[in-house]
Symmetry: D2
Subunit: 359 residues, 4 copies
Amino acid sequence: MNTFGRAFRLTTFGESHGPAVGAVVDGCPAGLEICEGDIQAELDRRRPGQGAVTSKRSEPDRVEILSGVFEGKTTGMPVAMLVRNVDVDSSSYEPIKDLLRPGHADYGYLAKYGFRDYRGGGRSSGRETVGRVMGGAIAKKLLSRAGIGVYAHTVSIHDVKAGEVTLEDVIKNPYTNRVRCADLSAVRAMEDAIMRAKQEGDSVGGIVEVIATGVPAGLGSPVFGKLDADLAGALMGIGAVKGVEIGLGFRSAELRGSEMNDEFYVDGEVKTRTNRAGGILGGISTGMPIVCRVAVKPTPSISIPQRTINVKEMKDAIIEVKGRHDPSIVPRIVPVVEAMVALVLADHMVLSGKMGPRL
Amino acid sequence: MNTFGRAFRLTTFGESHGPAVGAVVDGCPAGLEICEGDIQAELDRRRPGQGAVTSKRSEPDRVEILSGVFEGKTTGMPVAMLVRNVDVDSSSYEPIKDLLRPGHADYGYLAKYGFRDYRGGGRSSGRETVGRVMGGAIAKKLLSRAGIGVYAHTVSIHDVKAGEVTLEDVIKNPYTNRVRCADLSAVRAMEDAIMRAKQEGDSVGGIVEVIATGVPAGLGSPVFGKLDADLAGALMGIGAVKGVEIGLGFRSAELRGSEMNDEFYVDGEVKTRTNRAGGILGGISTGMPIVCRVAVKPTPSISIPQRTINVKEMKDAIIEVKGRHDPSIVPRIVPVVEAMVALVLADHMVLSGKMGPRL
Amino acid sequence: MNTFGRAFRLTTFGESHGPAVGAVVDGCPAGLEICEGDIQAELDRRRPGQGAVTSKRSEPDRVEILSGVFEGKTTGMPVAMLVRNVDVDSSSYEPIKDLLRPGHADYGYLAKYGFRDYRGGGRSSGRETVGRVMGGAIAKKLLSRAGIGVYAHTVSIHDVKAGEVTLEDVIKNPYTNRVRCADLSAVRAMEDAIMRAKQEGDSVGGIVEVIATGVPAGLGSPVFGKLDADLAGALMGIGAVKGVEIGLGFRSAELRGSEMNDEFYVDGEVKTRTNRAGGILGGISTGMPIVCRVAVKPTPSISIPQRTINVKEMKDAIIEVKGRHDPSIVPRIVPVVEAMVALVLADHMVLSGKMGPRL
Amino acid sequence: MNTFGRAFRLTTFGESHGPAVGAVVDGCPAGLEICEGDIQAELDRRRPGQGAVTSKRSEPDRVEILSGVFEGKTTGMPVAMLVRNVDVDSSSYEPIKDLLRPGHADYGYLAKYGFRDYRGGGRSSGRETVGRVMGGAIAKKLLSRAGIGVYAHTVSIHDVKAGEVTLEDVIKNPYTNRVRCADLSAVRAMEDAIMRAKQEGDSVGGIVEVIATGVPAGLGSPVFGKLDADLAGALMGIGAVKGVEIGLGFRSAELRGSEMNDEFYVDGEVKTRTNRAGGILGGISTGMPIVCRVAVKPTPSISIPQRTINVKEMKDAIIEVKGRHDPSIVPRIVPVVEAMVALVLADHMVLSGKMGPRL
C-alpha cells in the first residue's frame, strides 16, 4: 500500500534507481497558495551531499508540479509532484544482487514478491522519502494556515545526547547544522560520533524528537482513529525507526499516577500545568504541544564484512556493502519525521471538519 | 472511527455504563471452527475482580454470538458478538461530571463533541477493550490455524523488572498469576508495588512485551502498510499506552550498525542468527519471531486530590477520583495487547493472500 | 464487506434465521436527537405481514439501541442497534438445502465460501435490509436537520405504470397503500398484478423512483467519489436491483445535447430551468432535486417448478420454492431505497465538511 | 477522491490544460510482464483526431512508465505512468470562463471549491480518462493472465441501434470502425447520426455494452462489496453516463420470475441455461459472462446558443461553446468502459485471494 491518510492522502511512487520518484496529494483543500519553491525548500532540507556526515550521492532533486495548482493556488484536485532521478549509478549493486544485506528489507521483498529491484534497494530505499517530504511540504503549508507548526530535531546520536533546549532553539537551529541538532553545543560531538563510525566502516543510530505547536484541542477520533495511534503508525513506518513514544513515553512506565497526570487549569482556554502526556489524552489532542520521539537504528549499510547468504545458491556468503551511504541516517530522517507528523495532522484537520473542501 | 483493519476488520461499540459492549468481525475466512467458549476464554483473561490488584467491579461478561457462525463454523459473514453490561453503578460519576479528570480523555471528547457520556468514561473507558478482546479471540483462533501464536506478558511494573524468561515461560506463565508475569519470581514484588500504590491512593505503570511466533516471512506491505507501522498504530491506540518499540527499539539508537544488524544464514529456511530487528525489516516480516514492547502509563484515576477545572463554571476545582479502579492497568492490558497484535497479523494474513475467503 | 460509507459508515450483521440482525452506525455527528421510536418508525415501513401482497412471515422487529446515545442525543460514538429474529421457521429450507435456487445468491456463496447458511438465504436474505433501514433511519434524521428529505415510491409493477405525480404526492402517498405508490389511482391495478402472479405461483418486478430534496450544491467529489457513482453503487447493491438511472437516465441516450442540457438561471441562488440531469452534473450535486430510478427484478422465489441442480450430487433436479415469499419485492424495497440514498447523502454531508463531529 | 479500488487501486491526476495527466496503479501483483507498448495500445484506442466523428484536438499521448517495472515485469510496487499534454490551446475558454456551461460540471466545482480551472474543464474534462485507460491497460493485462477478457462496444447512437451481434463480433469489430460498433452494418448510420448533429452544432448520446468473459464464479462480496454494486459505481462514475444496467436490467422490471430466473445445469462446471442475470447473482459472479450496459448522454458542449448565467456578475447570459469537441462522446467512452470494468474485476481478483502479491 502506497497511500497514506484518510482525508488528506499522499500516494508515493518510484524507486531509488528508476526514472523518477513522485507524490500525489489528494484531498488538499482548494485555495492554498503553493508553488514549486515551497516544495523545493523542503526537499533541499533532506538532500544529501551536504558534507562528510552524509552520503556523497549528489541529488539536485528538482521538483515539478504536474497538476492541481491553478493561478498559484490548489484547486482541490490532486497535486502531483515529480522529481527525476539523476546521478544514478547501479554498478555497486550488481556484485551483491543475490546477497541479502543484513538489516535491510531485501529478504522481505524477496519472500513477498518473488523478485526485487535490487538497485539501491529499489523502493525500500530512503530515496522513497522524497515523496513523503513533498507531500509533507503541502501539509506543512496547509497547517501553517491554521497556525500549526511542526519542528523536528536530533536529540541524540549514538552516545551523544543533546542538552536541554527551548522551543525557540528547536524552531531555529536544526537546519543550521548538518546533524539537525537544536543544541548547538552538541553538534560537534555528534558529528564526531558519525565520523568515527564512518572511518571504521560502521554506522550509528540516534533519537529524533518532533514538536507540533498550535494544534487545536479535539483532533483524533475514538477508538481506532486516535491521533497518537496514527502518529505512531506514521512514524514507525519510516525506514530505520524502531521505536516511538509520545510525551514521557517509556519513562511513564516507571511513574505513579500522581507523577504522570497533568493537572488542568484555565488560562483563557483550557490548559495543563505540565505536558507529560505530550498533548494527547485518550487519543485526542488537548491543545498542548504534541511531542513525540523516535528511535532510529544505525544505517544497515556498512562496509565491515558481514555474514549472509546468497539467495540464488542458498548458501553462506560474506557481504561488504559499498556505495555511497549515510553513516547515520538520523540527520536525514529529521525532515521526514516532520513530513509524516504534518501529514497526520493535516489529515486530522480535514477529518475533524476544521478544514473543508476550500480554505 | 471505530473500525480497525483493512481486510480482517473489527468494529466495536458500546460504553462503560450503557446497555452493552460489542464487536463485529468482518472478513474472517469461512470454515473456521468457533464457539462462544473460544471468545469467553479470552474475555475471562481480561476480567477484573480477580483479586486485590484489580478493580472490584464484578463483570461476568458473558458473550453471545449473534451472527456469522453456522453449524459451528464461520460462514464468511460478519461475526457479531455481544456482552451485556451488568453491575453498572454510575453514582460515583455524578459528583464529578463537570470536572475534568487529569490524565483522562474527558477534555478531548468535550472539545470534539461538545458533550460526553461521563458515566465511567463512556466509550473512552477500558471497558471498550471487551470488544477488542472478542475480536482478538477470533483472530487468534484463525492464526492458530496457520501455526501462529501471540503471547504477551508483563516485563515491568513501576520499578520492578522481570528477569530473563524463555519463550516457554511466556507461553505458560502469564495467566497463572495476577500480574501476568512470565517470571514467576517477580510476581510477588510486582503485586507489592501495585498494592503500595493502591494503599496510597495512587497508581503505577509498567511495560508489556508481546511475542508472535510462527509468523511467515512476507507479511507487510511497502511503504504505508508496513507491518511494524500497523503494529505500532494498533498498540499505541490502546488506552494508557505511551510508547511502542520493536526488537531492540530505543536501545538501537545507541548501537552501531555492526551491533544492530542480524546476520542471515540458511537452516532449511532463511533465518537470522540474532533477532535484534524483532522479526521485521523494511516493514515486512522476516520469519523470525515478532517482538514488541509497550509502555503503559499509570492508571490516571487516583484518589489523591488533584487540581483541575469545572468545565461548566470554567473555574478551578479539586478532584478525588473514587470508584472501582485498577491501581495498575498493566495486567489487564496484557490480553488486549495480544488481541491487537493478533488482529494486525490476521489482517495481514488475509491482505497478503495467505488466507482467502475460506480455509 | 459489510460496511458502507466513508465518513458516515454503516456496518450490518445478521442472517435471516440466526439470532438477530443488527447495525452499527459510525461517524454520526454528536448532538442529534434520536430514540428507538425514530428507528422503529422506519422499520415498520419495511415490515411484511401487512396484507396479501406481501409475505406472511410475521416480524415484529423491535429495535433496541445498544450504544452511542446519551440523554436522548448521539454522542459521536457508534450507534449499535439490534433486532432479534422471531417467528423463524427453517423447516421449509431443509428439503432444498442442496438445491440451487434459480435467481438467488446460493451458487455465488457456495463458490466463494465453500458452504453456506441455507436457512432462508442466510445473509443474502432480504432480511439483511433491516440493518440498512435502521442505519438509514439515523441518516434521514440527520439529513432532516439540514433540510434534506428523501422520498421513494413505486412507479411501476410489471406492466402497470403509475401516472404523473407531484412531489407532494410522493411525500404523502406511498405509505398509505401496500404497493407504496404515489399515484393512488394506480394502486389497485398494481395490487392486482401482484395477486395474479401470486395465484400462479409466480412473481413480478417493477421500478422504484427516489427523490431527494433540499440537497445543497457541492456534494460529491471528483473523480472517484462522485455522488452519482456512489448512489449507483448503493442502489445496485440492493438485492434484486438490476438497473439504476439518474435524471433522464437511459432516455438521455436517444436525445441530442440541445434536448438534454439544463439551462442555468438565477433565482436567489443558481438553478436550472429543467432537471434532466437529476440534480447531479460532473458527479457533484447542483442544488436541484436528485432523482434516481431503480429496476427491481421479480422475486426469484417462485413455487412454479424450475430446473436446477443438486450440488451435493452434482446432478439435475427440480425445485419448487415454498415458504413465505413476497410475490413482488418492489413495495418492500421502497424504504430500503430511501435508506441507501439517505446513507449516501449523509456520508457526503460529512465528507464535504458541511457537517462536522457535532451538530 | 481520486483513488479507485480497494486492493488493486488506481490514482489519477492531471487537468485538461495542465502540464500532464497521469496514473498510479498500486496493488498490482509482482511478475506481470508489462511495457509501455501495452499501455500505449490502449491509449491509442481512446485517442481523438481519428476522423470527422471525433474532436480535432491532436493528442499524441505518449506514455512514460516512471516506476514499478523492473526487467520488464511489475515488482509489486506502484506503477506510475505519465502522459504530457501537448497541443493545448486554452484561448477558446477565456471568453466563457465566467459562464456556466449547461450540462457540464462547472457549477458543481464552483459550489464546492470556490473557484475552478476553467481551461478545458480542468479535471472534469474527458481528458482525465487518459489515467483511467492507463490503469485499465494494466488491469486488462493482469486479467488476461487469468483468462478474463473485457470487451465493450457501441450498441446505439441516438436513434440508430446495432443489430444482434455474436461474442466474436464484439471481440473483433469495435476498433475497426470509428463508432466502435460490433455490428458493421450499423456503422454508417451511426456515423451519419453523429455528423448530422455536428453540422447542426448539436450532439448525440448512445448506449455502450460491455461483456466480460472468463470471470470465475465467486467474485464479489456480500453485502456492501457486491460485484454489481462496484461495477455500477465504476460505470456511473464515468463522465456523461446517466444509467447502468446489468443483464436484462430495466427490462427485468416488466418480467415475471419464471421469465427472469436462469435455470442451473451441470456441464463440467455449474452453468445457467440463460444469462438474464448478466453473470451476477446476489452480488457474486456466477461464472457466466458479465454483461452491463451504460447510457451515455449527448456531449454537453454544443455550439447552439444556450441560456446560462455569468457567475461573476450573477446575471443571465448566452453561451455558445466553441472549441474542439466530440459531437458524440460514445465512441470514446468505449475504451473507458472497458478500463473501468477491468479495474473492478482486477480489484476483486485480488480481494478474493485469487491473485496474491505475485503471479
